[in-house]
C-alpha cells in the first residue's frame, strides 16, 4: 500500500476507494470522482473532468468572428443564449461599438428567459438526485414553454446561435406579449409548487441544510461567482456591479444566502427565477416604448477585422461570471479566444467541499453546483 500525504499519514489501504461515475445516474455528463472513504465519510475526492475536450478555443483561431457564434451554443447548452451574448459583447468591445437599445432589450429578455430555464433544470435535477421527482416535472414543463419561445423566435430550441455581432437579426414577433402573458403565471406557479413541495419538506431540509457549507472567504479564494458565491452571503452580481446593456435601469433584487450550503444554493436559484421575471416585465415595457422601426443592428462591416489588441468582457450568466478574452492580431480571425467558464472555477473546489461529508452528500453537492460538462471541458 502506498502512502498518500493527503490521506493524513495513512496508506490508501486503510480506506475504501470508490469510483463514482462516469456511468452513474447521479454523475453529470462524463464526470468521474474517485473517492476514498472511511465508512461513509469521504476522506478525499479527486474529480476528473472526463476528457470531452473539443478544443473550442483552438477551433476559434481558424474561424472568423461571425463563424464562432454557433460554437458558443455548445458550451453551456442549458443557457446557450447567454453564452452567445457573452461572446458577442466581447467582440463588440474589441470593435468599440455599442449596439442599439432595441437589440439590448431583446438580448436582455432572451437572456433572462434562458436564466429561468437554466435554473429550472438545475433545481429540477437537484431534486431528482435527492429522490424528489415531482418538482422536476413541474419545472421541466415550463422550461419546455420557454424553449417554444426560443424556437418561435430564432428557429432553434437548444443551439440558438442567438444574436449577431452588432445587434440581433430579427425583431420580437408581434405576439410576444400574448405568449409572455400566458407563460408568466405558469412560471410563477411552477416556482410556487416547487417551493411548496421542497422548501419546508423535512426530508429535503435534512438532505440540504448544512450540507457542504462553504465560507465566503473560501468561496472567493477559490474564484466562485454566481449563485454559488451568493449562497455564501456575498452580494455580487455583474448585472449590478459591472452593469452592461440596460441592467442598471431595472429594479430587481440580488438574493443571497447565509451558509453557502446546498439549501442556500437551491434557494438563491429559486428567488433568482422570480427576479428574472421582474426584469423581463420591465424590459418588455421599455421595448414597447421604442418606435417599431428602431434599428436592431449597429453599423458593422461584413468582414470583421478588429484592430490589434486584447479585451476581456464578462456577463452574469446563470452559473456566474462568464467571460471571453479575445486577442486580435488585426486579421479577420481571432488570434486567441479564452473562455472563462463559471462552473470550472466552482468545480475545482469540489474536493475541499466534500471532504469530511457523507458519500450521499457528495451527490447533493455536485448537483447544487450546476456543473455542465460542455462548459467545463470546452
Amino acid at each position: 500500500m502506498f502512502q498518500d500525504s493527503s490521506l493524513s499519514g495513512h496508506s490508501t489501504g486503510d480506506y475504501v476507494k470508490i469510483n463514482i461515475g462516469p456511468s452513474h445516474p447521479a454523475m453529470h455528463g462524463t464526470l468521474r470522482v474517485v473517492a476514498w472513504t472511511d465508512g461513509e465519510t469521504v476522506i478525499k475526492a479527486d474529480p476528473e473532468i472526463g476528457y470531452l475536450h473539443r478544443g473550442v478555443e483552438k477551433m476559434g483561431e481558424s474561424l472568423t468572428y461571425h463563424q464562432f457564434i454557433p460554437l458558443t451554443d455548445r458550451l453551456n447548452y442549458c443557457s446557450a443564449i447567454c453564452n452567445n451574448v457573452a461572446y458577442e459583447i466581447a467582440v463588440e468591445k474589441l470593435l468599440g461599438i455599442e449596439i442599439p437599445e432595441k437589440a439590448q432589450l431583446i438580448r436582455i429578455i432572451m437572456m433572462e428567459l434562458a436564466r429561468i430555464a437554466d435554473h429550472q433544470v438545475c433545481v429540477g435535477i437537484l431534486g431528482v438526485d435527492l429522490g424528489a421527482f415531482t418538482p422536476f416535472f413541474y419545472l421541466i414543463i415550463q422550461r419546455e414553454e420557454i424553449y417554444e419561445i426560443f424556437e418561435w423566435y430564432n428557429g432553434a430550441r437548444l443551439t440558438n446561435t442567438f444574436g449577431r455581432i452588432g445587434g440581433v437579426e430579427a425583431d420580437l414577433p408581434d405576439d410576444f406579449e400574448q405568449r409572455w402573458k400566458e407563460l408568466r403565471p405558469n412560471l410563477l406557479k411552477a416556482i410556487d409548487e416547487t417551493d411548496k413541495l421542497l422548501t419546508h419538506n423535512r426530508i429535503w431540509m435534512d438532505r440540504t441544510i448544512g450540507v457542504t457549507a462553504f465560507s465566503p472567504e473560501d468561496a472567493l479564494n477559490w474564484g466562485f461567482t454566481g449563485p454559488c458565491l451568493r449562497a455564501c452571503g456575498v452580494k455580487r452580481d455583474l448585472r449590478k456591479d459591472e452593469p452592461y446593456y440596460m441592467y442598471d435601469k431595472f429594479a430587481f433584487e440580488i438574493p443571497v444566502g447565509r451558509h453557502g450550503d446546498v439549501f442556500d444554493r437551491y434557494m438563491v436559484r429559486m428567488r433568482e427565477m422570480e427576479e428574472s421575471i421582474k426584469i423581463i416585465d420591465q424590459a418588455y415595457k421599455m421595448y414597447k416604448e421604442l418606435p417599431p422601426d428602431a434599428p436592431l443592428m449597429a453599423k458593422v462591416p461584413k468582414v470583421i477585422k478588429p484592430p490589434e489588441g486584447e479585451v476581456y468582457r464578462a456577463i452574469e450568466s446563470p452559473n456566474g461570471e462568464l467571460g471571453f478574452f479575445i486577442k486580435s492580431d488585426g486579421s479577420d480571425k481571432p488570434y486567441r479566444i479564452k473562455i472563462r467558464p463559471p462552473c470550472y472555477m466552482v468545480y475545482q473546489a469540489f474536493p475541499e467541499m466534500v471532504k469530511g461529508e457523507m458519500i450521499a452528500d457528495l451527490i447533493a453537492c455536485l448537483s447544487s453546483l450546476n456543473v455542465i460538462a460542455g462548459e467545463l471541458d470546452r
Binding site: 486584447e310 478574452f325 486567441r336 472563462r340
Partner: protein, 183 residues
C-alpha cells in the same frame, strides 16, 4: 490618481510595461517576480485586486513570425519591421485576470515565458482559484508551475504527447489517437 499611476506606484520597477486598450489595463511583470507583484497588487489598500478571475496562456509565435516575415514587392501584408520592432524572445504569455471586489476594477497581469525555459512560480499560495487554470496551462502549453500542489494534465489524458493550444500544433491533430490504439 489614475489607476495607471497607482499601479506604477505599487509595483515600481516590477511594472515593465503598462498598456491600455478599450479601457482594459494590462501590466507586464517579470516572471521571476510574479508572486511578489501579485501579492503587492492584492495587499495594496488603494488597489485591492483580491480576486483571481482567471489565468491562461497565449502563444505569440505566429505574431512574431508575421512581424518578422519579409514583405515581397507588390504583396499586401504587414510592413517589414525595423530593428526596434523585432519581437522579444519570450514565446508565451501567462495572463492573470485580477478583479478588485471593492472597486469593481479589473487588471490583466502578464508574465512572458521563454520557450527554452517554460517554468513560472505557481500562485496557488495566493489564490486557490489558480489550481485548475495552472493545470490547464501546463496541459495546453507545457508551461510548468513551480510549487503547484498537484501539477497534472487536466483536459487531455495523461498519455497525450502534445500541447494542443501551441500554435505549431495542427488543428486536425497529429494522429495521437491512432498511435495510442495500436500501441
Amino acid at each position: 490618481m489614475e489607476l495607471k499611476d497607482m499601479i506604477r506606484g505599487c509595483l515600481g520597477p516590477l511594472a515593465v510595461a503598462i498598456d491600455e486598450f478599450r479601457g482594459d489595463l494590462s501590466v507586464e511583470v517579470p516572471k521571476s517576480h510574479i508572486i511578489d507583484a501579485l501579492r503587492r497588487l492584492k495587499d495594496d489598500p488603494g488597489l485591492g485586486f483580491d480576486f483571481l478571475s482567471d489565468l491562461f496562456g497565449v502563444d505569440n509565435s505566429e505574431i512574431y513570425k508575421k512581424k518578422t516575415a519579409s514583405k515581397k514587392p507588390g504583396d499586401e501584408g504587414p510592413e517589414t519591421p525595423s530593428e526596434n520592432d523585432m519581437p522579444s524572445p519570450p514565446r508565451f504569455d501567462v495572463i492573470y485576470l485580477l478583479l478588485s471586489l471593492k472597486t469593481n476594477r479589473r487588471l490583466r497581469v502578464k508574465a512572458r515565458i521563454a520557450e527554452d525555459d517554460p517554468v513560472i512560480d505557481s500562485v496557488t499560495s495566493i489564490w486557490k482559484a489558480a489550481t485548475w487554470p495552472e493545470r490547464e496551462v501546463f496541459d495546453m502549453y507545457g508551461i510548468r508551475f513551480k510549487g503547484h500542489p498537484d501539477l497534472r494534465r487536466l483536459l487531455m489524458w495523461d498519455e497525450f504527447p502534445a500541447h494542443p493550444l501551441r500554435k505549431d500544433y495542427p488543428l486536425e491533430g497529429m494522429g495521437e489517437e491512432r498511435c495510442l490504439i495500436y500501441e
